[in-house]
Amino acid sequence: MPFDTDQTEKAMTRDPEEYAIRSPAESTSPPPPAEAVMRIEDMDVFYGDFRAVKEVSIPFAKNEITALIGPSGCGKSTVLRSLNRMNDLIPTARVEGKVMFHDENIYQRHVDPVEVRRRVGMVFQKPNPFPKSIYENVAWGARINGFKGKRGELDDLVEHALTQAALWEEVKDKLTESGYSLSGGQQQRLCIARAVAPSPEVLLMDEPCSALDPIATLRIEELMMTLKKEFTIIIVTHNMQQAGRVSDRTAFFSVDVDDRGQRTGKLVEFDDTDRIFTAPGEKETEDYITGRFG
């Protein structure tokens, strides 16, 4: 069972008497996801001696969108980056606990982080196409993953990825033009095409719309709803309405401050998005989504 870890239980348990606005009696646990593709189990993330995130456990269900929300400094991006070992690139970063991808802990010594990142793709906050053609931006992902097919097969792969990213119709006649010639929203969809080209199972998105205008944002959100049919998506967003619009489940993170003023991110609550935004179980979640925090 993906929900039986201590932290999740702790996040789901509440004492109704504690709150003026009481918690629903029956919302103690969301229906378990059909199949968790990834699962964080009792994870702490350290930067040197500094514990940035503590005791996080979350299952990520197949073909669902899970949103990670919370105030600045709550560790949600750190958690996201731990899912494809992007934190490895920071020399002092250290992960304790497990991050399971299917049945394998991706932090085991023998696991190749490059292979992890092929299967768990990532889209960043700011569109970051390479200074290359639109075609090469997408083909790159396949190439570095050792694509050995014929040119025609690569063409098909590029077309498929651009179609998945809902960009093909807009760029099919200018594939040799620079990725920089596109608008911000198009560039972000190009980055999504690049991320899906190696056929990952999981797509991590770190604030993918924060640099985009509202229309481009809505297009990306619509795209996410389509992409989840093929991928499992985990998104960090500051925009609660966005989390509400796109995600199936939401994990709310917050910050504990100790006596020495050290701030450590923690998972407060993980539940169905409907539940989190209408009747969350934890007072901290309620305070955050209704704007009462300080």
């Binding site: 606005i21 009481r22 629903p24 009696a25 029956e26 009747a279 209704t290 009462r292 300080g294």
Partner: protein
Amino acid sequence: MADTRFRFHDELETLEQKLLSVADQAEQMVEMAVDAYTEGDLEAADRVIELDSVIDQTYLDVHNAWLHLMARQQPMGSDLRRMSMLLHMNTTLERMGDQTVNIAKMAHATTGLPRVDKIAEELREMGDLVRAMVRTGIEALVRRDADEARLLPAMDEPVDRLNRDMYQEVVKAGSDPGRLEWAIKAMMVSRALERVGDQVVDIGEQLAFLLTGEMAEFDESGLGRSDVQPG
């Protein structure tokens, strides 16, 4: 704790206060309407009709303010549930006002007809019971007390019973056409009071939803269908 959305929360509070004063007024209108019918007090009847037009205006004002808040503030959590409650309350209170107007119109339609004392007495009893329900609903709301709201179905029970049995009193009213007409119209008054009772229970259910996050109709013991029975 800092409330970063204090303006929005102030506006919510203002809407709720408006609706609470409408509920207060509705309680008085129930009293006036019952007096109008049972004592043939047409001045009271006219006053009810007048006050209802004020409720109708408040209904429109609250509805518009509610739409603005919804569009601009995109509330979540207990704010969202409170918005839901206020929207329901607004509609329900407007209908309660309409029911008292129905009674007031019956008073006009029966001017000069002889009354049946037993029926008048029972209507007054129903009016008192319903007014107590409105008061209980208001207090539960002000105190944010779901347990108090859960008393409402039990309070509604005698109202329902009096309404159900009203036709027997009408049968006993005798053959005098005037008395009979007054008694038959009294059944409609009884029905209107019974509806007001149900409407107060609805408001109680909305309050329970705000406080617990569970939307469920109260059964007679005041428990929502999805509530867990205590020990």
